[in-house]
């Protein structure tokens, strides 16, 4: 067992799976010699060489577009797009092709592509580097969309994503990259895509979160426990697509009260889908309106004020108390 931060845990998964499967090609801007601007791909080039670790030109469409061809040719590309805010330049290749090739060719071409994309605010970066528009990918049929919250599940989910026969958009919460370390087992560990986890148990309230916001939800849960004697069930979604509606439905039916947290913009953000599912399937169990604590419908402000944009524990506690009093 090693104590790893998320960067090292993802790096470990890449090493493990490249060792297992020589179809895996890592490509992207600065992923080779530089080891990635966040060092997530550090050491891969030295170990696996230039044919398997490609430093590409600055060309997001080229990267995602090449991956479609590589996958059709039997490879298993694991591209990195440097920041989610730039990924929109390559989005159309995912929507038009990666997501559709299996379907269009009636099964001839699988698209086992895992697009790693650092996302989210909280690291004092320049404009566009704090974006959290996961909905743009989660809404596209044919793609899967995964967002880990910690080192251990990041490693396990990345292994599963790479092995998955379908294209996976794998958003990595930058704010959680080096925020903490966690024991990551030496032996191989995977987690099924499309399955959420309970990060904390409780019967009074359901908090649903993912990515870096999970930790703020957990903080809020601690405060609620200490200050209000309220025990929150905290659910870590892990996948946005497929969305594991069963776990949160079970929890919501038990607690009757739900708060959803994400740093994505509020309007048309991921919470809408979760609420829709809860209403469709668990309406009669709800004892209060579901609330959401989200990023605002504004561009993430430059870094001096980015924390004001983000949901924090006190906003979550506040919403939780409101839901409890409703």
């Amino acid at each position: 067992m090693a104590e790893l931060n998320m960067v090292d845990a993802i790096n470990r998964a890449l090493f493990e799976e490249m060792e297992n499967d020589d179809n895996i090609i890592v490509l992207g801007e600065d992923v080779g010699v530089d080891g990635g601007v966040f060092r997530v791909t550090d050491g891969l080039l030295e170990k696996y060489g230039e044919k398997r670790v490609i430093d590409t030109p600055v060309a997001e469409t080229g990267i995602t577009g090449l991956c479609v061809g590589m996958a059709a040719g039997g490879l298993r590309p694991v591209p990195e797009l440097q920041f989610s805010g730039f990924s929109y330049m390559g989005l159309h290749q995912l929507e038009m092709h990666a997501a559709r090739f299996r379907w269009r060719s009636r099964g001839r071409y699988a698209m086992p592509i895992t697009v790693r994309i650092p996302y989210g605010a909280g690291v004092h970066a320049l404009e566009h580097h704090s974006d959290s528009k996961e909905v743009l990918y989660a809404h596209i049929p044919g793609l899967k969309m995964v967002i880990p919250s910690g080192p251990r599940n990041a490693r396990a989910l990345l292994l599963a994503a790479i092995r998955d026969p379908d294209p996976v958009v794998f958003f990595e919460p930058k704010a959680a990259y080096r925020a903490f370390r966690e024991e990551v087992p030496d032996e191989e560990e995977t987690l099924p895509l499309g399955q959420s986890e309970t990060a904390r148990e409780g019967d009074d309230l359901t908090l649903i979160a993912y990515g870096a916001m999970l930790h703020r939800a957990l903080q809020a849960a601690d405060t609620l426990s200490e200050e209000d004697g309220v025990e929150a069930d905290v659910i870590d979604l892990l996948s946005l697509s497929p969305l594991d509606h069963e776990r949160f439905a079970e929890s919501a039916r038990r607690t009757g009260r739900v708060v959803i947290v994400h740093e994505a913009h509020r309007s048309y953000g991921p919470a809408g889908e979760i609420i829709a599912r809860l209403i469709e399937e668990s309406f009669w169990y709800l004892e209060a309106p579901i609330r959401r604590v989200t990023g605002y419908d504004i561009h993430v402000p430059y870094f001096a004020r980015e924390q004001a944009y983000l949901p924090d524990a006190s906003r979550i506690v506040d919403a939780a108390r409101a839901v409890l009093n409703d």
Partner: protein
């Protein structure tokens, strides 16, 4: 130290072998076996007749929108014989002639044209890509699949088709640039048919040729008379050889003309003169190649008549086959197939709901 000229890696050349008057440059005439020439001619004729039938079927409301090949057959039937079956073929959306050469059954194309996804199925192990509707978006795929060949140390190469209009898209640029850097075994075959729907070639780009765009990527490039099947063959064979030998990609611009409408949803009388079309009809690649075949005594007029009859039967049969295939297709619930390798539970639930609703309505 003053202003000095920079010498470029490559220059741009123009290739023509069999011109519109039937004059042949015997020096440059490619060495193609008689059988192969025969197959090329037959496929060209078949694709022309098939194109005509598609148009009729579309006008009768039996199939949907499609993009006729008419006029561009030499680009497609000239280039494909330079490829092996194991080479990768990436069409845009107007490559029915090339697809027929590659062995796509006419009946399947018809099923596709009639609006059924099943017609677009790619056989297991085929090295053919599906039709790509978004302009230029298939070009990066060629570089990717060629990378798989490089990586596996196979000497297969890829050919990707696109139009003049496609060279305006960023996808073209990023793909070409990657190919240069990776030394990709790719033949970039641009069918410059002078129009991107209603936009004429000279409003698409100010560059004198489209071939010269290869220079921007340090790539050899060539402009070819695209209605001269021999020139297209020679150019492609040269590019394929370069690619197969590990010497990287080539940009080929085939100068040709879209003799027909853009698609069946289009009305060219809005934007182009009949005179231009008439001028180009005289340059039609089909009679040009036919004369060559007859001149070389590889075909007689009788042969051609027989061929026409066979082709008509073949197409009639294909439509019959397509009709019965369509009858045997599954219901609309097949739309839930192939979205993922395994259908996730939420999607299976949607499918079940769909089936229940349908049953209820029918029942």
């Amino acid at each position: 130290m003053p202003r000095t000229a920079v010498e470029l890696e490559y220059s741009v050349e123009y290739l023509s072998i069999l011109d519109e008057n039937g004059d042949l440059d015997t020096e440059l005439e490619p060495d193609i076996e008689d059988d192969q020439l025969h197959k090329m001619f037959r496929t060209m004729l078949l694709s022309r007749r098939f194109d005509e039938r598609l148009l009729t079927l579309q006008r009768q409301g039996r199939i949907g929108t499609f993009a006729p090949v008419k006029g561009q057959e030499a680009c497609q039937i000239g280039s494909m014989p330079a490829m092996r079956d194991s080479d990768w073929f990436l069409p845009a959306f107007r490559e029915f002639a090339a697809m027929i050469w590659r062995g796509f059954p006419l009946a399947e194309i018809l099923v596709f044209a009639a609006g059924y996804n099943e017609g677009a199925a790619i056989p297991e192990d085929a090295h053919d890509f599906p039709i790509a509707v978004p302009v230029a978006s298939q070009i990066p795929h060629a570089v990717g699949v060629a990378y798989a060949c490089q990586y596996r140390e196979s000497d297969d190469v890829a050919i990707v088709f696109f139009g003049d209009g496609a060279t305006s898209e960023g996808d073209f640029h990023e793909a070409m640039n990657f190919a240069g850097v990776l030394g990709s075994p790719v033949v970039f075959l641009c069918q410059d048919n002078r129009w991107a729907i209603s936009l004429p070639r000279d409003q698409q780009s100010k560059s004198k040729t489209l071939a010269q765009k290869g220079l921007a990527y340090g790539m050899p490039c060539l402009q070819v008379d695209g209605n001269d099947i021999l020139a297209v063959y020679a150019a492609t064979a040269e590019a394929v050889e370069r690619a197969r030998n590990g010497d990287g990609p080539t940009m080929i611009e085939c100068l040709t003309y879209r003799l027909a409408i853009h698609t069946t949803a289009d009305d060219p009388s809005k934007y182009r003169d009949e005179e231009e079309v008439e001028k180009w009809e005289k340059l039609d690649p089909l009679p040009r190649f036919q004369n060559y075949m007859v001149e070389r005594e590889l075909l007689s007029d009788d042969d051609i008549d027989t061929m026409e009859d066979e082709i008509k039967d073949e197409i009639d049969q294909a439509w019959k086959d397509a009709e019965s295939k369509i009858e045997e297709l599954g219901g609309p619930e097949v739309m839930f197939d192939y979205v993922y390798a395994e259908r996730p539970p939420y999607l299976e639930a949607q499918r079940q709901t769909f089936l229940e609703l349908r049953d209820r309505e029918e029942g």
